[in-house]
Symmetry: C2
Subunit: 239 residues, 2 copies
Amino acid sequence: MVNLNPHVSVDCVIFGFHDGKLKVLLIEREEVPKSYLKGHKLKLPGNLITQSEDLDISAIRTLEELTGLDRIFLKQFGVFSSPGRLSPPEDLAWLRKTSGLMVDRVVTIAYYSLIKISESNITERTIWLAVDDLPDLIFDHNRIIRKALEALRQEIRNEPLCFELLPKKFTIRQMQNLYEEILGEPMDNRNFRKKVKPLEFIIPLAEKEKEVNHKPAQLYKFDKKIYEKHRKVLSGFNL
Amino acid sequence: MVNLNPHVSVDCVIFGFHDGKLKVLLIEREEVPKSYLKGHKLKLPGNLITQSEDLDISAIRTLEELTGLDRIFLKQFGVFSSPGRLSPPEDLAWLRKTSGLMVDRVVTIAYYSLIKISESNITERTIWLAVDDLPDLIFDHNRIIRKALEALRQEIRNEPLCFELLPKKFTIRQMQNLYEEILGEPMDNRNFRKKVKPLEFIIPLAEKEKEVNHKPAQLYKFDKKIYEKHRKVLSGFNL
DNA sequence: AAACTTAGCGTAACATATACGCTAAGTTTT
DNA sequence: AAAACTTAGCGTATATGTTACGCTAAGTTT
């Protein structure tokens, strides 16, 4: 057994994009007696940290184990430290039982992470739910997700985060739909294309969309190296 | 003696603006044997948290005690968790001695805060130093300050943080100088005035600058309530 | 052929940013 | 009284970016 630090934990809000909806990855808790279910069956992926691990490393490891992906986008966005956050008592009891530790107060460092659902290899006992329609979760995890979404909305305006959520090969329309879903406002397709067109790090492939009952769309990929070269000149990424 | 949590601490990077320079408030360590001074005499204000306190509350208390100010601007901007951060060994020995605890690893939650130097009542054993010319500090405190400055630079573009650093009564020129110092680039005074002019939450006072050997400048104050009313309409604060 | 969406051209109205010339006014210093 | 200095404001040309919209053509399935 690893040597756990019972005072500090890491929680990850994993966002994905599927069927035009922004989703969060949740874990179904084990060993929950029926007596206190009441919808509190789900939680965010996360763990108490080990004594010798940097938090970022701990978060990365948690994610790799869970999704089968490495090089995932990961961003620390907040700390949740309220002394009363490990409530209700049934949830605290569950944590003590499953961790085997008499935890009392846990300060949790929260990360959000962006993954390509289509390319991940998610392990069992997990479920993707739309962020705008979540049930009650354990502890303060609903609040953590709300804060993560605020941070994501803020940062996706200035950084090319959308490519972390889109599949490797994507169409301009998919890209626009993602922005519309996250920012919650419709955009003009013609103007959107005009903005995207001159970006040299969005590269057309020799391949088109298939099996759609309309003109197939051009597929593109994101070239991170070219983006890095241009970012200093362009002073960011604004859509 | 309060019941301290030896695993989690709070550190505050307190910025102030004086003589046209952005400064940081540092504390002179006590009980430092001459044998390992080497410049490591200074540290950021901060403490281990108590078992029952929310971190924000802990940071607020630390600041009030230190500056005599309440309602200080305070923002949590990062977590520093590297297992090796409590080095060199002399510094760790000092922490163990002064805290009376066998601390081993401390995850610190870092805040930056903005204060009006002229109106604060700073306690002893502290010193204001220019951020661009700091000596070596204890632990990883130089790194924490660098990160705080990055966060401040980012956020001062979108929020009216400058008024936290300026005195209650300020001139447009002082405001411009502050922006120039923090963002590190000169600005055109005429254009700056044009941008500031239409902002209804910057209110002229019936009072002018004194004891300067040129035309005295108009003094202004910032009205937070009016700003809050307009912010939704204006979608932010950009300079 | 109809239905649908992609892909692109064009443009008018409007807002913002940046650089810079110019004038007048109010204070202290000489 | 003049010189030195900074505040305070007007004006303007240029470039750049945003938003809304009309229009055409092309490629796929039904």
